[in-house]
């Protein structure tokens, strides 16, 4: 089936649920992941206008993260007293910026995760301080 297999295989109108695309949260997740990774779709949160921070929310707060060493990814994070389970890692990337300037330097590894509450969050591990930060909420 190639790319976006979940989308292609999904039965859009399951019997008994004429107005809903999905029969459960689990059934919805593969489709969401496919959509997030689809190259020809641009998420609303990434849309930016001049002088605009975008539709996502920048947070930049420290969080506690539970780490799965086997999968090399976070499994949960605690933010403002609430624990969010990471149901899927959507994307991961790294940032290394201005290493020659101690005042400007950024060195972090980022994970965009889909949490149990349905939200998409950007978590970052700051290599210079060893701290985890919730960079923002995308959707």
């Amino acid at each position: 089936m190639g790319h976006n297999a979940a989308i292609k295989e999904h039965r859009a109108l399951p019997e008994g649920l004429p107005l809903d695309l999905f029969d459960s949260a689990e059934g919805r997740r593969p489709i969401v992941l496919d959509l997030l990774a689809t190259p020809w779709l641009v998420r609303a949160s990434e849309l930016r206008l001049p002088g605009d921070g975008g539709l996502g929310r920048r947070i930049g707060e420290a969080v506690a993260v539970s780490w799965d060493a086997a999968r090399h990814s976070p499994v949960a994070f605690a933010w403002r007293g609430r624990v969010y389970d990471v149901t899927s890692v959507v994307q991961t990337w790294a940032v290394e910026h201005a290493w020659w300037d101690a005042g400007q330097r950024v060195s972090r590894r980022c994970w965009r995760v889909l949490a149990g509450d349905g939200g998409t969050y950007d978590l970052a591990f700051e290599r210079l301080t060893g701290a985890w930060v919730l960079l923002g909420m995308q959707d």
């Binding site: 190639g2 190259p39 290394e96």
Partner: protein, 1111 residues
Amino acid sequence: MGRNTSFVHLHVHSHFSFGDGAAGLAELIERAGEFGMDTLALTDHQGFYGALRFYRAAREAGMRPILGAEVVVESAGVSGEECDLPPEMRLALPAPVGFGRAAGSGFHLTLLVKDIGGYRNLCRLLARTHVRSATEPSVVALADLARCSEGLIALSGCPCGEAGSAVRVGNPGRARRALMRLAACFAPCDFYVELMHHLTPDSPRYIATLAALAESCRLPVVATNNVHYVHAEEFRLHDVLSSASARMSLPGPYERPNAELWLKPPAEMRRLFAAYPQACDATLEIAERCDLDLGLGSFHFPAAEVPRGETPYSVLSKAAWRGLEERYRPVTSVSVGRLQHELAIIEELGFPEYFLVVKEIVDFARRKGIRYSGRGSAGDSIVAYVLGITGADPIEYDLLFERFLNPARRQMPDIDVDFDSARRDEVIEFIYRRFGSEHVAMVATVNTMTARSAVRTAARAFGYGIDEVNALSRHLPWVSAHRLRDVLATYPECRSHPLHESRYEPVLEIAEQLDSCPMHLGTHLGGFIITREPIDTWTPLQWAAKGVVVSQYDKDDVEALGLVKMDILGLRMHSAITETVALARARVGDDAVPEPFDLVHDDPRVYETIASADTVGVFQLESSGQRNLNTRLRASRFDDVIAAISLFRPGPLEAEMITPFIRRRHGIEEVSVPHPAMADALADSYGVIVYQEQVLLVARAVAGFDLAEADSLRRAMTKGRSRAEMVRIRGHFIERALERGVEEGVAAEVFRQLEGFAAYGFNKAHAACFAVVSYASAWLRTYYPAEFAAAILNNEPMGFYTPRLVANDARRHGIALLAPHVNESRERYAVADAGRAIRVGLRDVHEMTARLLAAIECERTVRPFRDLADFLRRTRAEAQAAESLIRIGALDGLGVSEADRPPTRDEMLALLPELKATIAREGVAGDDVLLLAPGPVRPVEDTSHVSGWSPARRLSAELELVGLSLTCHPLELAESDLRARSVTFAHDLRGLRDRSKVRVCGVRERAQTPRTRSGKRTCFLTLEDATGLLDVVVFEDALQRAGETIVKHRCYLVEGTLQNNPERGLAIVAESVAPYTVRTASGTPVRLRRGVPSGPMGSSLGGVGAAEEEL
């Protein structure tokens, strides 16, 4: 080769991507090995610069190397409509990549070599791209790509590839067209779409788009990581190199968003491409399909001229026997036997064609009267001698063929020949004509970073201004960059170096890591590759900066490939000898001056010249250390000259061979050898193993080795000796000695001596070949000193000393130095006054132009110049050149002034602007300078000299404008002050007792700190005062105190102990070194060396010139 990994890196850059790679080859291979990888590719930008090294190192490490290159290709997917778009809306080309004139701006494409056919095709493709035009950028044409694609696998490239670039800007249609056209250049299944996951926010989208395009085009995908450094933390080095090579400060030309271009382990790569396992599998498939065997170990000779019915051996043999008759009169049974022996080995090894090629080249030089001499271990061969390639008789000097060609080790012979520098181009032209330009190229050299260049590179990248960069690199010694901290901590001259400041810590840290990093590709001084097949099937070529076609391989690579490399070196001493002979013959007649290379080496006056260390300008015997050795050795025969050349070398110096040699030679110490059989072998070096050939002789005499075995023993002792290997060799040696009845203890002692000296011995054949030239130059210096000095000055830069010292030395020998003069001087230095004077040539005067030189020569044939106006009118001399000529005294004595005497230099300088203006306005000037009244000028300083200038002022102008001190040595101006300070002059030292306390003063000529066995630093200073040279030794403790003074000043007062005995020679062991400033009577500092002249018409009315001290 078994496979035990799940991923192979196929896109890897090393240091040899020059500025876009921070990975060392050894580190890459080692790291890949740690990952369990058995295959690794190398794909540097635009070439194979590091490919051969990588190939050999990988195979040695048991890894399969894949060779390749990332090339820049012309646009493949330009559609008609894009051509109509304004440039800013077209797909932007990436920044240029590649080194020097092989750099090009285009879309990247990764090419991998499948087999030897692919290797040849990629060499040809690169050569064609780089050398088809000296002016066009190096971009691979699609037509060439299609023509040379057989045997190659292509990957579509990094995000700077055409497809990648188009995807990045959201133009998948354009990417698709590019992929289709590029794929069409290659065989089916030989083109892959390259996926890279660099962990940027855009990476998933980039990969997904390319994968989708690949699927739609039915092309396979492959995963790579575009490796640019081995370990993750080395990204900083990569950024620095990129910035420095683009002459930008950080972040440099790429502004990379992160640091993910490292050699990632297979598991990490698999994890990154979890959604595309087939892309990782493809790396294994490609690796399986790439199986290149370069066939290293075989030799490929160019075609020699062989008449029909003959073979290369028969032609060589006939020429050699003819040569034997000419060289040996009478022919002896020893020489006949030796020639037979050598010819048989040469035939057996398959080298006759090599000898014939060298013979053709030297025959050409001989026919054309171009002076040349063979050097190196080729001097060990009687074949080379009878063919006229070398000049020292191998039988007379006990030179052993097996040291040159060991029949037990089939290695490419290496015959180096030095040609007259002035006519070397004629030889090179002959080589191109004879073998064809498509079969000849120059060899490259890879220049690597030292402490100084590493600091400059790092500092530039950090954005420091040029003055700061200069300050950071100045006064750093020439050491490896990894020793920077050690040098800063321990070297006295670096005590106050700015790198000690903490703000430069990042520069220091990066500079240390840049140690030995290839910096740029240079051109070998005289190495040529000559091939039978077209050379571009063996090596990629490109234009070198100096405008010649150069291989991308260095000499080791060329040797590994089995290609013939000829060193066509230029030797300025040959030019000087030729010129001395011509000048001498012009003065005393052709028949009076014999050919110096044909002299019998038995003239006592020549040996006296050498033994008295009166050897400035003499080939190989002139340096301060060598002069010291000359006095200790007291040469009286040709063998002594060979010994002198051999002993003053890093190996013998490090092994401290000189002292026992001298002591035994003069009977201070008894000659003793552990076994009587050694006595014969070491007879000419008093029982000390000085020559490599002697190791062979001793092994033969004591253990009964044949010479081939003995040479293998010598090599084993010399190169990379492991303890286990040495134990094995020792056992073998002792066993063989015991068989011959040698006592075990004696055999062990002999072996101990061989082991101790084998690595340090010098090649006697090389020394013997040099000694022929040394003797010839010493003979010319002895009998024709003025001609010899003039010829040396005409062929500068050469030798150990500056022209200033060569001229001063001539003056000390009673030869007058005459300033340049427009009515007397030629273009070059010339001998005058029947060999008692040297007239400085006009060529060396600052601001002199070729046009003005020609005008002066031409006008002078009509009539001499009468005065300044006449000179300016007839030559149209430029103002700056005219000013220089006046200031140097080239117009002294011309014309008559109001004072009924020739005008002074100040008067002429004052008139110059007005005269120039008048000539420019009216086309002529007055016939007499008196017609134009000079403005007010400085009063005459010295009425006894026609210039009107004081000696100090004349001297300053001479140093500034021709770099010589013609009037006098600068220290002569300070003579009374020096006497008041109880300074001893150089010519008085020899009369003082050994261990006397002395104070001397001299201008620095050279300062050397050679390696010593103890590891301590000792500085050897060569100073010059008005009476001669002073050799000063500054040991470590004194150097700690004086290091900074030595580096920062140029003239010193040295206090120390005189060493004056036959065993150690003449030198001053310094206790203190203090700066000394030479001042005129009025207290003005005097210039001590050539400096940057002041601006046009500027300093002419000024003082005696800038003070010399460098601060």
